[in-house]
Symmetry: C2
Subunit: 123 residues, 2 copies
Amino acid sequence: MSSLEHTVQRYIDSWNETDARRRRALIEEVYAPDASYTDPLVEVSGWDAIDQTVQAVQQQFPGLRFTLGDMVDAHHDQVRFRWNLGTPGAPEPLVVGFDVAVARDGEGQFEQVYGFLDRVPSA
Amino acid sequence: MSSLEHTVQRYIDSWNETDARRRRALIEEVYAPDASYTDPLVEVSGWDAIDQTVQAVQQQFPGLRFTLGDMVDAHHDQVRFRWNLGTPGAPEPLVVGFDVAVARDGEGQFEQVYGFLDRVPSA
């Protein structure tokens, strides 16, 4: 597993970690201090704002879990991957997303995450 | 059509433009001067290097055309899209790629292009 693929797995872990201290530790492991995270709903940067974003999503979807989807594809300092958010054991995820993350030169920490949504809950 | 979607179309045009002067004009329209372009095969930055990269691909695949694929999806300053490279009229493209491009704040010019390949010719 490459350094980037390892970071992708820890990134998924951070979205699932509801213990505040452990989540923050994961975020500091996954992201560079000045990292930016942008998806269709939020545009934030830095550990504090990213941590608050992850916490808000956890509060919006209590009990749901993030899992890594297909197509983890890394080269140079960039990686793309899908992720799912759903109820454990459910046949279909509620949300499917797709991210491209970019690391610092030669390091595994994400500097930018560019998020997109492939499936969202119908209203 | 948003500014980013317009730039995506001009980006496709730049890959098809074999006239050196017109291609360079398109590249200067599409990319910021210090833009970076990274796909699995090349990692370049700046108009000169990007232009040389496009020219090299055109020489590798003479007569083939780039077309915009599905899923042009833009928000904030980022856009994702698929593209195809194939012989005009052929039922299937030879190469299928996927890019995420990021623009300068509020401007349509690409600052970074993160390219991935979904289909490559078999050896």
